[in-house]
């Protein structure tokens, strides 16, 4: 009888250890991704969509960019981000500043803060929806991202 009880205890301990190690493998970590817009002309409004290709990411924060013309936090779905359910995001902003104050060249328009899960490297999709001049003319701009250093949670 004692042998049976001892065997059960050992079995439970083994199961608990296995579950613990599985959780450790699935640990989450923070990351930040800078989004850059490259435009030869001054930009008055921009919009992009960002998502994870392999579904191992949640967006947990959105930070404003470096341009004084876009001084506030850009528009995004705050509810989804606050609830931690945003596995993709649409970010946009516009500025009513004078044309000579609008940014051009390579500008960091926002920084996204993410929580990554799993061991695989994240794969992102980034699409520029629109970028226009102060008079609403579409700009042939490009968009790119740069990942910052990651930290374990």
């Amino acid at each position: 009888m004692r042998t049976v009880i001892f065997g059960l205890i050992v079995l439970c301990a083994a199961c608990a250890w296995q579950a613990s190690s599985a959780q450790h493998d699935d640990s989450s970590r923070f990351a930040a991704v800078d989004i850059y817009l490259d435009s030869a002309e001054p930009v008055a409004a921009w919009q992009f969509e960002f998502s994870s290709r392999n579904g191992l990411m949640k967006i947990v924060g959105v930070e404003n960019g470096e341009s004084a013309a876009f001084d506030g936090t850009p528009y995004y779905d705050r509810e989804a981000v606050q609830l931690g359910t945003a596995d993709r995001i649409i970010v946009a902003d516009f500025s009513l500043a004078d044309a000579n104050l609008l940014p051009s060249g390579r500008i960091r328009i926002t920084t996204l803060h993410l929580v990554l899960t799993g061991r695989d490297d994240p794969a992102f999709d980034l699409d520029l929806v629109t970028a226009v001049t102060h008079d609403g003319r579409a700009i042939d701009a490009s968009i790119s991202l740069e990942s910052q250093t990651e930290s374990k949670q």
Binding site: Y75, F94, T130
Partner: protein, 132 residues
């Protein structure tokens, strides 16, 4: 001769005749006649319309309902869907439409709150999910 005979002979003749003429068998009303008379009466009175009179409390309730309906309609916010349109006619509703709306208006015509609401609608994941 019986006593009754003697008594009737005491009455004057005209009275006797009058009594005899009044002494007729009672007219029998059959069930059929009764039914027909009832139906005639019913149809006669149903043809006459009773004037419809709404009691005063019902009028008050109707007036109150109309008043509440008017107040509710007045308090309804304006339809925002007309605001969220393809302002720049690019074939797509995006942040450029918010910029176009903001630039097209005169000062104070569209509030910052309305522009923010339009932009928030554009970036809403729920809306984007519905559209796709």
């Amino acid at each position: 001769m019986g006593p009754e005979k003697e008594r009737s002979e005491d009455l004057p003749q005209p009275l006797i005749e009058a009594l005899k003429s009044a002494d007729r068998p009672v007219a029998m009303i059959t069930a059929r006649v009764d039914r027909e008379v009832s139906e005639m009466a019913r149809s006669h009175f149903s043809a006459r319309r009773q004037p419809t009179r709404v009691p005063r409390p019902a009028w008050a309730a109707m007036a109150a309902t109309v008043l509440i309906a008017v107040i509710v309609v007045q308090l309804q916010p304006p339809d925002q869907s007309t605001l969220y349109t393809d302002v720049d006619r690019s074939g797509r509703i995006d942040i450029a439409d918010v910029l176009a709306l903001a630039r097209a208006q005169g000062p104070g015509e569209r509030s910052q709150a309305e522009l923010d609401a339009f932009a928030s609608r554009i970036v809403s994941l729920k809306r984007a999910g519905e559209a796709s």
